[in-house]
């Protein structure tokens, strides 16, 4: 299980510096590499001072929403009246995303150290690391690392628990994750109340993504100014981010880039471009839940929060899915819709019924039995599924459908008109 690619000159290795280095997984090895220095430093700082440092660095949530991390921490009650909790979202299930997995596989102590620092910042005594159920290997590595660090007394009185998910995509939604930790069905909760007021077990809670927390120790050791300076385009997007590239490129994998890096360079330089004889057709830059980009948009897109929005999509989790000219966009979109239909928690009507109906229409189109009215129906249905539900799973299903029809309408129409050979979907 060697780490697949050699560092590329254009990468900025902060989080992935020790990827592929088995010794970095051990407590001793991590300490030798300067690990737990940030935690030692943090213990000398007041909680608010840590939060201020993170605020200053401009670090934003790497799970998908890009919410400023320091600001999120500052929502926790200052005068502590109840137990505070930290939940670490390691339920990485977004199709096309596999960055947290690598962090946990290679640098578990980076995550644990970031977790301890965040706990101090939000005055939490207990943290739950909610690890995706399918991540058996990362779980074993995390468990080993936690045991070693605990044996070495690294965290003092802080309690860090690993909690395994049971295979539901929706449990990566922060309120569903809290329900799941409580032993309940992983259903998203209505907000308000927000987690900082009423979180896991009804107590003030902060939920952070793995990559977000792993970025905290280097911010403390190198200072927020250092982190803030790592920005190639918009100053509101700082630091580095792991991009998981998959699909039709020569060298898929995780690439750590400074914010604002051009997507085109990532695909054609770092990832070696398309397969021979193929050309780029489309790209989903932020995990399956964000709108699809066509070729021109992909080539113009800068990889930061604002750059993605400028192209009509979102940076999301940084899961870059690449399609070349051999890809059948109707089929691809059907597969995405089917995923969401399978994973809908069944609470909200629009999501429960809408995702399944969307899938059925797309399957019908692929089977050559689509109707001329189907595309308008899909768009209207997607409109109905956007912005009206408890969480954004429904919106996530609608996003690729709407952008797919908008940008690749011809492919849909060809199926409907009988110009394409029907695809029978199982």
């Amino acid at each position: 299980m060697g780490y697949p690619h050699k560092p590329h000159a254009k990468e900025t290795k902060v989080l992935s510096k020790y990827f592929g280095d088995p010794e970095a997984r051990t407590y001793k090895g991590w300490v030798k590499r300067g690990g737990y220095e940030a935690w030692r430093q943090a213990q000398t700082l007041a909680p608010a001072a840590i939060t201020d440092l993170v605020k200053e660095s401009g670090l934003r949530g790497r799970g998908g929403a890009g919410f400023p991390t320091g600001l999120k921490w500052s929502f926790m009650p200052k005068d502590k009246k109840k137990p505070h909790y930290l939940c670490v979202n390691a339920d990485e299930s977004e199709p096309g995303t596999f960055k947290d997995r690598e962090i946990m596989r290679w640098t578990p102590h980076a995550l644990l150290e970031g977790t301890a620092i965040a706990m101090r910042a939000i005055q939490a005594e207990v943290a739950y690391v909610y690890i995706r159920g399918e991540f058996t290997e990362p779980y074993a590595i995390m468990a080993q690392a936690l045991a070693e660090a605990t044996a070495a007394g690294a965290f003092g009185d802080l309690k860090i628990h690993l909690h395994r998910g049971a295979g539901a995509y929706i449990c990566g939604e922060e309120t569903a994750l809290m329900n799941s930790i409580e032993g309940k069905r992983g259903n998203p909760r209505i907000k308000p109340p927000f987690p900082a007021a009423f979180g896991v077990f009804g107590m003030p809670t902060t939920i952070n993504n793995v990559e977000t927390l792993a970025a905290v120790p280097p911010i403390l050791t190198n200072g927020p100014a250092w982190y803030k300076k790592m920005s190639l385009s918009n100053p509101k997007s700082t630091g580095t981010k792991l991009f998981s590239v998959c699909g039709h490129v020569q060298k898929p994998g995780n690439y750590e880039l400074t914010m604002g890096f051009p997507l085109k360079d990532l695909l054609f330089e770092l990832c070696g471009g398309m397969r021979p004889g193929r050309t780029l057709k489309a790209c989903i830059p932020g995990g399956s839940s964000v709108p699809i980009l066509d070729r021109a948009e992909t080539e113009a897109c800068l990889l930061d929060y604002e750059g993605a929005v400028e192209r009509g999509t979102m940076l999301g989790s940084g899961g870059v899915i690449v399609f070349d000219d051999s890809a059948d966009m109707v089929y691809q979109i059907m597969r995405l819709a089917r995923f969401y239909a399978h994973e809908s928690c069944a609470q909200c009507t629009q999501c429960r019924e809408g995702t399944a109906w969307t899938t059925k229409i797309l399957e019908r189109i692929l089977a050559g039995q689509g109707k001329a009215t189907d595309l308008d129906l899909l768009l209207d249905l997607s409109e109905n599924m956007t912005g009206k539900t408890i969480c954004v799973l429904s919106d996530s299903c609608a996003a690729p459908v709407v952008s797919g029809i908008k940008k690749f309408r011809g492919e849909f129409e060809d199926y409907i008109a009988g110009k394409r050979k029907p695809v029978l979907v199982a």
Binding site: A168, I170, R185, I190, A341, H342, E343, S344, C345, A346, Q347, C348, T349, Q350, R352, E353, G354, T355, A356, W357, K360, R364, Q369, K371, T373, L377, L381, N384, G387, K388, T389, I390
Partner: protein, 520 residues
């Protein structure tokens, strides 16, 4: 700074409500019913059917009225194009997997899915008839509950009722996505003593009462406000009658007594109201003959003669299901005589509804024991039976199980004629609780009115009328025009009811003054 009212505008109507009120409740004050499924005032908010989406000025998205608290100066439009289109979308989605089997569904006519679809749904679906609808077989959930998953819209009211109100969480949502259905714990049955409420809570025809299954169409039913006779809790109920037969009992909301619920004992205990073997005419005993049917004048005159001749001890054995008015007039009948009155109260197990304070199926399985006590009736039934043996006159009021041995004369007022009353001098037919108006006093001393749901059979009359006429025949008072006059006479002479009038009790009841000692 805490203001006691919040002012807002809903569909152009100014509304003032206490802070913390949810939009959906505030809207009711403006006369607006925001369509909804998962919301129910007796359950915790779930906010998941997304039906009650409304437009709130300055909010970036549509808001769900069931989970949005009011705010000062809020401007709400429930009828904006956006809100209407969102709700129309929800309705279309709710129907894509719905069998639309309204013609054979018990809920038809009182179905919220039907009502709101007619109100603001699409005229036709865009769901292709080629697609199969979700299908799951009907499940037997418990003694009185069937689950028809195909009709289910997954509002989770039943799940939340079992979890938060009964505190016996045997239901859940099983599976995900459009495969989801309401599941029951594999080793459990829906046999909680209050489980029947899930049928009322279900906004569609997914949870059905076996007892009511295919008995009547909703639009054939007449609904009458009543009070449950199953125990001393005094839950407010609605009697549903079809062609003058009680076919269903449902809870009638009363936040001070039973909130939105009734127990299964009360719900299913109504068949006696429809008994066919009723006494339909007054009967008197002729010398050496059986009881013979006569008219009211003769029967009353005969009863008056018996009572007038009473020298010595008199005993009244009354049913605790009799109205307060009848219990009172019975006592009036014996005023000035050596009188013993008693009620027999059957006892059972208590079955509380854990999530609602002070609500239970009470051990005292009778609705009016408190009034009997306030009016000086004893609970020592055995002693009264013993006293009856040597009494000059015994009056039995609707105790069909009773066997009386007495040396004196027996007068029987009742709905049915038990063998034990065949020796009576006079038998006077009376109406049962579904056939008359009257009041009960529950265990907490709350006097509550019930109303007439169907006519009494033959010549049977309400007990208050019979007793008042008897008093008139004895020259002690005038005929009463109605139960209101009977109650008002009671309120004038019994301290516990002082200051109350029949009209002031209303449909939801009033507390009586139980601190006033009983006057024997």
């Amino acid at each position: 700074m805490a203001n006691d009212v919040v002012n807002l505008t809903i569909d152009g109507m100014p509304v003032s409500v206490p802070p913390g009120t949810l939009l959906i409740e505030a809207a009711k004050q403006a006369g607006v019913l925001v369509p909804h499924y998962c919301y129910h005032p007796g359950l915790p908010v779930a906010g998941l059917c997304r039906m009650c989406l409304v437009q709130v000025e300055k909010a970036p998205k549509l808001q769900i009225a069931c989970a949005t608290p009011v705010a000062e100066g809020m401007v709400v439009d429930t009828q904006s194009e956006q809100a209407k289109s969102a709700r129309m979308g929800v309705l279309e989605l709710l129907l894509i997997n719905h069998p639309l089997d309204c013609p054979i569904c018990d809920q038809a006519g009182e179905c919220e899915l039907q009502d709101f679809t007619f109100q603001e749904g699409r005229p036709a679906t865009r769901y292709s008839p080629d697609y199969a609808k979700r299908f799951n077989p009907v499940e037997d959930f418990g003694p009185d509950v069937l689950y028809v998953p195909n009709r289910c819209i997954l509002c989770t009211r039943c799940v939340r009722f079992m979890e938060d109100v009964t505190k016996e969480p045997v239901l859940n949502v099983s599976e995900r996505g459009d495969r989801a259905y309401i599941g029951i714990h594999p080793e459990a049955r829906l046999d909680h003593p209050w489980a029947g409420n899930v049928v009322d809570l279900c906004p569609v025809g997914s949870l059905l009462s076996k007892d009511f299954l295919h008995k009547a169409r909703a639009w054939e039913l007449d609904k009458t406000a009543s009070v449950c006779t199953g125990c001393s809790q005094g839950c407010n109920v609605t009697l549903d009658t079809r062609d003058n037969v009680v076919v269903r009992v449902r809870p009638r909301p009363n936040l001070d007594v039973n909130r939105y619920f009734i127990c299964d004992h009360g719900r299913l205990n109504y068949r006696w109201m429809n008994r066919g073997d009723r006494i339909e005419a007054p009967l008197v005993k002729r010398a050496g003959a059986e009881l013979q049917a006569v008219d009211w004048d003769e029967a009353l005159a005969r009863a008056a003669t018996v009572l007038r001749g009473a020298g010595g001890r008199t005993v009244a054995l009354a049913s605790p299901k009799l109205s307060t008015e009848a219990l009172f007039l019975t006592r009036e009948l014996f005023a000035g005589l050596d009188w013993t009155g008693a009620v027999q109260i059957v006892m059972g197990e208590e079955a509380p509804l854990a999530g609602v304070p002070n609500l239970a199926l009470r051990p005292e399985r009778a609705p009016n024991g408190t009034a009997a006590q306030l009016l000086g009736y004893s609970r020592d039934y055995a002693a009264a039976l013993k006293a009856a043996e040597s009494a000059a006159v015994v009056l039995v009021l609707d105790e069909p199980e009773v066997t009386i041995r007495t040396a004196g004369a027996l007068i029987y007022l009742g709905t049915v004629l038990p063998d034990g009353a065949r020796d009576a001098e006079v038998v006077l037919p009376i109406a049962n609780v579904a056939e008359e108006e009257g009041s009960f006093v529950n265990r907490d001393g709350r006097v509550q009115r019930y109303f007439q749901a169907k006519p009494a059979p033959g010549m049977a009359r309400p007990a208050w009328w019979v007793l008042a006429e008897l008093l008139t025949a004895l020259g002690r008072g005038e005929s009463l025009a109605g139960p209101d006059a009977a109650f008002d006479r009671l309120a004038r002479s019994v301290g516990a009811f002082a200051g109350l009038s029949y009209a002031s009790i209303g449909a939801l009841g009033k507390p009586v003054n139980t601190a006033v000692p009983a006057t024997a």
